[in-house]
């Protein structure tokens, strides 16, 4: 309910209640006033009565004063009371508790009483003896009667006024009462209307909710699309594994990484495990998954997978399981990246490390066994000496004489200047050298050698050069190869916007690929250093990054982190960073190689999805209706607060529990179980009225709607169920229906009664008509016999009287016939057909003109439209109207009759018959069509008074109307309307 409704309910209630209170109070006041007035009036009337008696008593005392002993003092007192009472009645008196009456009539009457009062009072003004008193007798005698009469009149007027005022007050009270009722009714109506509006509102809200939800579904689709795009942009292939049925979803890139078209092979865990995965990696994967699902340990394994061309390549796959509320794993989502190159490098590195190790071992062995080549040059004699090993490296027969320059010439041309320079440097600056160079052996092979040399001094004089010589070809080549692989790796990641860097921990030098400039948002002239890079990490995340690096160095575990990073161009992004430590032969960390990816978009998307879901959740929670969100197994994900209220679930935590466990009664509803299945298969279902037994066993009526909801992948994630309690509405409807039913019953009963009464009436009229006919027949027949057989014995008057008897009998027979016909019309069924009205009128008029052949007739029949009706009955109508027209015009000099039609309205035609006859007063119009109603005496015009009643009945039966217009003496027009289809 919106605020306006709430305000209006409130304001209407306030206004209505205050109006009612005011009305009730004023009603009470009014009643009080009525009582007060009545009491006042009663006082006055009582006093007036007492006054009358007192007057009579005083008068009597005075009259009898001569002959009886009276107490003058007592009389005086009486007179005093009498006169003060009079004044009080006239002008009002606090003492007597009465108010002066301002009524004009009363004032006038008092005024008229005044002379009599004054006279009597004056005559009794002062008396001290009987003698003095007797003087008053004639005065009193002459005024007493009139005084009393006036007083009586005053009392009467008082009574009238009093009654009148009370009556008007009561009238006012009645009006107030009615007004209260009206106000009460109005309030009930208004509140009820708002209540209805509220129900409507609620429905609208629900619909809106549904709409919004389906809108948000649209948003989800959009996110899914974006997600797809992001998936395409990054190099990783994504997999999504449903543990329930082992089905999987693989991103297009996943397929691509394996050389397949999107969807070319079925995505499933089984396909992955048994077809793609290298047999030797199977155990590793299964163990890792198990570990991850059991302990939540990170799932990250390097595996070999067979691509379409049958070649095994190295991939790194990471994944994260999601768990249901019971902690059971539901699905796992992860990614694969092709690390084949890297892996090979690593493997090579590994093997090269091994080689180095072996070399060193060899060297030490050699050293031990003096197998390391050594050489000497005597600068004095300019002779050279090689050890056997040196010969062997040069592939020269040991012992072969060598020259000093041979030491340089065996090097490949491009290395000769290097060595030459080193030698010169040694001679000039007494420096040692250690160079790695390529040597061309005697057989023409190019090999890497390490040449170490230093000057030899004797007595401070440079006498020669001496050094070591070793074949480092294998090691060197491995290293070079590694470098080359890095280069290749660089190339492979160029497309993926991945920054790759190598951090030399000894020199603290930082090198990175071209992509890195872009990823980090710096120009190409930026010289990377670890410090500069660190400075760009979001200050809040720096410690975390350093820690992770540190940890990686300590534990030799790869670090895999995400952190905020301020790009060179000022924008903040989220970087994912991974790095591996490269160690030297002693296990000391020397280098760190890593990659960084901008995952801001992906992160945002995840955030958005999370937000979306949390919005949905909070929406459901706050929904103004009973709403619940379930997963595919009908376990509660979230519910609205109203849900608890609606289902009478108190203080129970239901999230994560099965709907069927929370509400066991639902499990018994097979229809609902089927509906849940259908909804989870994608249908949207609803029901406007359904019964539901709540947990507290109360039965309610509900309306519900169930729709599936879709997850980020566009798949059905579960079901949303809306329920609203419509018990009140249903009860109200039932109440209404019951009432209607009751009314219908009542009406039906009445109809049955009516039917019964009709039947009785019918048989009554039938037997009456039958029984009446027999005596009529006798009257008629025996009159005939008298006229025939005894006409000779009857004089003219006798014959006339017999004729009257006979005629009356005939009329009565006609009456009986008409009556019967009229009553029979009621039950007769119409047999409708199209009627040619022109022809019908013509035929009927022909008969009538024959009857009035002695008159001058002006008959005009227009061409009339056809009508639909019962021919026999309509003919009766026409005969009646036409014969009436003739009959009532027959006294004119000339009969003028016009027959036509007035208008055609949709399916109705109005015909009319107009005559120039005697007409009637319009005020008697209503009586025209009543049974036995006649507007003319039988002497004037023949007739039973049933004809027009029959006509009206027939026309009404056809769904038409009949009416007439006339002016006395100027003819009349009868109209009747008929359906023409």
């Amino acid at each position: 309910m919106n605020i306006i409704d709430r305000l209006s309910v409130k304001s209407i209630s306030i206004i209505a209640v205050s109006t009612l209170i005011i009305l009730i109070i004023s009603n009470q006041l009014l009643i009080q006033k009525i009582l007060d007035e009545k009491r006042d009036d009663a006082t006055v009337i009582n006093l007036a009565g007492r006054q009358r008696m007192l007057s009579q008593k005083i008068a009597k005392t005075v009259y009898l004063a001569e002959n009886t002993d009276i107490e003058l003092e007592a009389l005086k007192k009486d007179v005093e009371v009498w006169s003060s009472t009079h004044e009080g009645l006239k002008n009002g008196s606090e003492e007597l508790g009465i108010k002066a009456n301002k009524n004009e009539l009363i004032q006038t009457l008092f005024f008229e009483t005044e002379p009599h009062y004054e006279a009597i009072k004056n005559s009794l003004g002062d008396f001290n003896s009987i003698e003095e008193l007797t003087k008053a007798v004639p005065v009193i005698r002459s005024h007493e009667e009139q005084f009393l009469a006036k007083m009586d009149e005053i009392v009467k007027v008082f009574e009238t006024i009093s009654n009148e005022s009370v009556r008007s007050l009561i009238r006012l009270e009645v009006i107030l009462g009615l007004f209260s009722l009206f106000i009460l009714g109005g309030e009930i109506y208004l509140i009820f209307r708002i209540f209805l509006a509220r129900i409507e509102n609620k429905n609208e809200e629900l619909e809106k909710t549904v709409q919004e939800l389906s809108d948000s579904k649209g948003d989800l689709f959009e996110y899914v699309q974006r997600f797809d795009l992001s998936l395409k942009a990054i190099n990783a292939g994504i997999w999504d594994w449903y543990l329930e049925d082992n089905s999987e979803w693989w991103s297009p890139r996943f397929y691509e990484l394996l050389g397949y078209q999107d969807g070319e092979i079925q995505a499933s865990y089984n396909t992955f495990l048994n077809i793609l995965l290298h047999r030797d990696d199977k155990e590793k994967v299964v163990d890792a998954v198990e570990e991850h699902l059991k302990t939540g340990a990170p799932y990250k394994v390097q595996i070999r997978m067979k691509n379409k061309s049958g070649e095994h390549r190295w991939f790194e796959t990471v994944g994260q399981a999601s768990f249901d509320t019971d902690g059971n794993p539901v699905r796992m989502v992860g990614s694969i990246i092709d690390i084949d190159e890297r892996k090979k490098v690593e493997q090579d590195l590994e093997s090269s490390n091994e080689e180095i190790q072996r070399g060193i071992e060899l060297l030490s062995e050699t050293q031990k066994a003096a197998k390391i080549g050594s050489w000497e040059v005597d600068l004095g004699t300019m002779t050279a000496f090689w050890s056997d090993e040196v010969y062997r490296i040069h592939e020269v027969e040991p012992g072969t004489p060598i020259k000093v320059e041979d030491g340089i010439n065996f090097y490949r041309e491009d290395f000769r200047p290097v060595i030459q320079k080193a030698i010169d440097n040694a001679i000039e600056n007494k420096n040692s050298w250690d160079e790695e160079c390529i040597l061309l052996t005697k057989t023409g092979r190019e090999i890497w050698v390490r040449a170490i040399g230093h000057p030899v001094f004797e007595d401070g004089q440079l006498t020669g050069l001496r050094g070591l010589f070793m074949d480092i070809d294998e090691t060197k080549r491995k290293t070079l190869e590694r470098d080359e692989t890095y280069e290749k790796l660089h190339l492979s990641v160029e497309a993926g916007q991945i920054a790759i860097w190598i951090w030399d921990m000894k020199t603290n030098e930082l090198e990175w690929n071209d992509q890195a400039y872009e990823v980090f948002g710096v120009t190409k002239d930026f010289e990377p250093t670890f410090e500069k890079f660190s400075a760009m990490i979001h200050p809040d995340d720096l410690d975390y990054v350093v820690e992770a690096t540190q940890k990686s160095i300590e534990t030799d575990e790869r670090f895999d982190i995400q952190f905020r990073f301020n790009k060179g161009n000022g924008s903040e992004i989220i970087l994912s960073g991974r790095g591996d430590i490269v160690r030297d032969e002693d296990g000391n960390p020397v280098q760190m190689i890593g990659i960084n990816m901008d995952i801001t978009d992906r992160n945002e998307m995840v955030e958005n999805l999370k937000r979306q879901e949390s919005q949905l959740r909070s929406f459901v929670e706050q929904a103004p209706a009973a709403v619940a969100m379930f997963d595919k197994n009908m376990k509660y994900i979230t519910v609205s607060n109203k849900w608890y209220e609606h289902n009478k679930i108190e203080g129970e935590k239901i999230i994560g529990k099965s709907h069927y466990d929370v509400l066991p009664q639902v499990k018994k509803r097979e229809d609902w179980l089927a509906i849940h299945k259908r909804v989870l298969a994608g249908e949207e279902l609803s029901k406007g009225k359904d019964q539901f037994t709540r947990t507290d066993n109360s039965e309610v009526w509900i309306s519900w709607k169930a729709i599936p909801w879709y997850n980020a992948e566009g798949e059905i994630g579960g079901m949303i169920l809306y329920v609203s309690d419509i018990t009140k509405e249903v009860e109200y409807t039932e109440e209404l229906e019951n009432e209607i039913e009751a009314r219908t019953q009542q009406i039906r009963k009445q109809a049955e009664n009516l039917e019964q009464v009709n039947k009785e009436l019918e048989s009554f009229s039938y037997s009456i008509s039958h029984d009446l006919r027999a005596p009529l027949r006798s009257i008629n027949g025996f009159s005939d016999i008298i006229l025939e057989d005894y006409s000779g014995q009857l004089d003219e008057e006798g014959k006339r009287l017999m004729a009257v008897v006979k005629e009356s009998a005939v009329t009565m027979g006609q009456l009986i016939d008409d009556m019967l016909e009229f009553s029979r019309l009621g039950k007769k069924k119409l047999q409708k057909s199209e009627i040619n009205m022109t022809k019908l009128f013509e035929n009927v008029c022909e008969v009538e003109t024959g009857t009035y052949s002695n008159k001058q007739i002006d008959l005009n029949i227009n061409t009339l439209p056809n009508a639909m009706g019962d021919v026999a009955l309509i003919k009766q109508v026409v005969v009646n109207l036409v014969s009436n027209a003739f009959k009532y015009s027959s006294k004119e000099d000339k009969i003028v009759i016009n027959i036509g039609f007035d208008q055609i309205e949709e399916n109705e035609v109005t015909y009319f018959v107009k005559d120039n006859g005697t007409g009637f007063k319009m005020e008697y119009h209503d009586k025209l069509f009543g049974v036995f109603h006649r507007l003319h005496s039988k002497n004037e015009f023949e007739g039973t008074g049933v004809g027009l009643a029959i006509v009206k009945r027939i026309i009404n039966k056809h769904g038409g109307k009949i009416w007439a217009e006339s002016e006395e003496g100027k003819g009349s027009t009868f109209f009747f309307s008929m359906p023409n289809s």
Binding site: Y766, S769, H770, R773, A774, R777, S778, N780, G781, F782, I785, I816, D817, L820, R824
Partner: protein, 146 residues
Amino acid sequence: MDVNKTVEILLVEDNDHDAEMALRSLKKNNISNKVTRLKDGEEALEFLFGTGDFEGRSVHNQPRVILLDLKMPKVDGLEVLKAVRSNKDTENIPIVMLTSSKEERDVVEGYKLGVNSFIVKPVEFNSFTEAVKEIGFYWVILNELP
């Protein structure tokens, strides 16, 4: 009463006045001597089947036409009609129903019991001859009139 008296026209009518008028009308046209009036349906059945008061009357000596009132005490016209039509000896006797009003004709027709004609009372010579004409006995009766 001579039980075996030949009867040309049998009038079954409970109302004396109606019967009187009918007889008078027929008499005026000189056919009353062949008319026998019975007071109700019971008598009519006894007459026709030679039972009761008419014990001994031959069932082969039947009237040429029966004028039968519809409403009678004890056994009404329709019952007599039914009995007449369901007996071999009487089934072919033409029956003219006497009704009080035109409406009663509907009742008679409704029963479809083999009424040959009807007359709305009072039975006058004109209506009688019309009815007899309908039956086809017109000439038979009229020709035999003395």
